[in-house]
């Protein structure tokens, strides 16, 4: 499994990266990967994928943002992995990097994973002690991410 970077989470299936990115500066709020090596590479991948996310978001224009459009789908595939994107209503982006070798991972599974991530993220947001924009240290969130990544691996 790739890591998950959450900034929106990037989930790589070889290592899942979940990376939630905050709105303005696009810095990651949460990064997670399995296994933990090559983290830097996924970090870079996720960062570059932000451009694609922005492109897709702008392409959607003023269309009403329902959940379907929150899911951006495959941002772009590379030789090793695929990058999926998801953006919330508050412009928090989740990027998931998934290893291409994992062909069993279908689109709806990715969607459900993003949905779970979104739910967990809202739970984190509900915590009054969490300042939006801080890095996410929530253990519940960590557990959810771990369980999700383990599932996919």
């Amino acid at each position: 499994m790739r890591k998950k970077n959450k900034n929106k989470n990037n989930k790589n299936l070889n290592a899942s990266w979940l990376k939630p990115y905050s709105l303005l500066q696009n810095y990651p709020l949460y990064i997670r990967s399995i296994p933990a090596e090559q983290e830097l590479k996924f970090h870079y991948t996720v960062h570059t994928s932000l451009d694609v996310v922005d492109e897709k978001v702008s392409a959607m224009g003023k269309a009403l943002v329902d959940q379907r459009e929150l899911y951006l789908g495959l941002l772009y595939p590379t030789e090793d992995y695929k990058v999926y994107g998801y953006v919330t209503n508050s412009k928090v982006k989740f990027v998931m990097v998934v290893d291409s070798s994992n062909t069993a991972l279908r689109d709806n599974e990715i969607r459900s994973m993003f949905r779970k991530l979104h739910n967990s993220y809202t739970d984190v947001m509900c915590n009054p002690f969490y300042n939006p924009g801080d890095r996410i240290h929530s253990r519940a969130f960590d557990n959810m991410v771990t369980s999700m990544m383990v599932q996919v691996c």
Binding site: D66, R115, H137
Partner: protein
Amino acid sequence: MEGLTLSDAEQKYYSDLFSYCDIESTKKVASNGRVVELFRAAQLPNEVVLQIMELCGATRLGYFGRSQFYIALKLVAVAQSGLPLRVESINTVKDLPLPRFGASKNEQESRHTTSYSSDTENQGSYSGVIPPPPGRVQVKKGSVSHDAVQPRTSTDQQESTSPVVSPQQSPPTSPHTWRKHNRHPSGGNNERSLAGPGPFWSPFSEAQTGSSAGDAVWSGHSPPPPQENWVSFADTPPTSTLLAMHPASVQDQTTVRTVASATTANEIRRQSSSYDDPWKITDEQRQYYVNQFKTIQPDLNGFIPGSAAKEFFTKSKLPILELSHIWELSDFDKDGALTLDEFCAAFHLVVARKNGYDLPEKLPESLMPKLIDLEDSADVGDQSGEVGYSGSPAEAPPSKSPSMPSLNQTWPELNQSSEQWETFSERSSSSQTLTQFDSNIAPADPDTAIVHPVPIRMTPSKIHMQEMELKRTGSDHTNPTSPLLVKPSDLSEENKINSSVKFVSGNTVDGYSSSDSFTSDPEQIGNAVTRQRSHSGTSPDNTAPPPPPPRPHPSHSRSSSLDMNRTFPVTTELCPLKSETVHFWLCISRTSKNKLHTGQQQAGVVAHPPAVPPRPQPSQVPGPHVHRPVDAEGLITHTSTSPQQIPEQPNFADFSQFEVFAASNVNEEPDDEAEKHPEVLQVEKSSDPSGSLRVAKTDGRIEEKTAASAPANVGKSTTPLAPPPKPIRRRLKSEDELRPEVDEHSQKTGVLAAVLSSQPSIPRSVGKDKKAIQASIRRNKETNTVLARLNSELQQQLKDVLEERISLEVQLEQLRPFSHL
């Protein structure tokens, strides 16, 4: 009897005891008084003692050998620790404290006491004092050991009384006070005071009364749950922190006593010593929490908003991270607000944390919002407290002391509560799932459901084949691709957005319905085109120009005149399909019945897929007309200006035939023209090959030029000649037009049409006098010049448009950097 492994301390202790019991020094201890006393001093129920004796084999032997004695001692320790008596437990139980005997030698006790107790303040004071333990107890107490014990109990008494006297000012201290309150009614419970720091003493004191009560404290049964707690915490080494807390709490209590309740809520919380049972809220604590809740939210059934709670808990000066985690644990329904239960749980966690307890990973069951129900259903405070306490040991903070198996035995007694907890957890999980459902948008699922059956990647060839079939059959809605249109996914929408062109294009996005959805469109288009094509293809009339050429994109609202130009760039986008569409067009063209125009149609088709083969037809009309004037110059000029057309080569043969035909139909003068015609044609033919080469390079233009030539021909001549001559003339004209790169063909055609229409139709009568011929020649010349001018203009326009197209393509590539990934 299995081998007994003893630690050094144990070894020493046991040997001491053995020697103590071994009065006769016979290395074997009969069941003499001392042994009996010893075992009785262990505060174990008789049956347990019997069991121990049996296990160690003394009953078999009838006496206690050294090994048996050691085993028995070990079993006593096991029993005192609350573990079930098993032979295996002799060696398997680790970190077992030494068996405690109330009547055992004082020095041994003190020795071991020091080793276990972290609190030394009491030890010194206890040596030498021999106050008899109030209340029950005991067995033989003449020994100094009692002395050691008594002062402790007395001090405990003293300590216990004082806290009891003082009013409970801080709920956190309630555990102690609660216990004391509890003890007092039972009489002589002072020994049970919590203040005893030494683990030995306190359990002992408790055990004294416990034994009198016949409870099975040591065996780990429920009766005074707090005692168990004491035992549990005292036994285990990790409870050193607890022990540390213990004196601290004692100190706190005194502090509380001395200081009025002027402390803030935080300080009170800090002083709380719920260490013995951190996850269970006592009544006093709960009451305190409720009071605090009221200060924030008067309505007990209401919520405390997150911000208010944040401020409140921030006062506790815990780090934000921990407060965040506490919030996560306590906000069970994840709504950003705290109910009374959640608030109490959070408060309790804060209290525990302030006292040094690690936060659990998940909310302890005792803190779950079901707590209120538990207390309501239970009896008055004590019982609920007991219940809670008995339950809590089993729940003992995971991060803290290791669980005591015997304590877990109390769980069966809490069936009701556990059930409640279980149901609650179920409910909570269901609520969580509900939450998830709520946040999920239903349509998403249907999408996924639909997506799966659909992911068919349509290759261009396949799509094209479908197109072909559709066009041939004329039906476009029964094809296999139509069901695919059902796919409502956003992908298809996106794809539709991405590829505005309606021809199928190889999609990178998993080829969902994007390609599929498009298949029907071209098919429809094809059908329409087919129909129109067939129309135009089968109407080689001399009458007015045929209707505008059919458009490949019916949806496009473009003027007919512009079609040629626009379709050109459009088709270039459909590179992968160009060949197929060309093929398609070819098929269509072949189906047309117009043999005369087949060649040109083919030419046009090959060159330009959306080309309009019918266009050439109008040119047929003026064909013969052009022949009429038989203007060698005109012809020559035409010839000179006419380059191309590869596919027209086969027409040359036709031309010769037409020439003959024309010649046969013309009278003398026309004959001359006809004669000249062949010459011209010959010349044309010769020039054509060269021109055709050029034409090859401008395939796309051929069609346009053909179309352009068509109206030109139409305008130029409305010969009465039979159709055969028309194509000849048309060809000449088309060559003229085709040579220059016609850019804005539409404009040119429009102009041409206007020009041509203005020209009067040349009569077909053979007997035209020279005047008429000359006039017609003049007219033709004028038309020629006009057309030539138009040609140049169109050429220019074509160049401009091409440049624009190139620049747009460059921009497109720049804007889509990822398209190449």
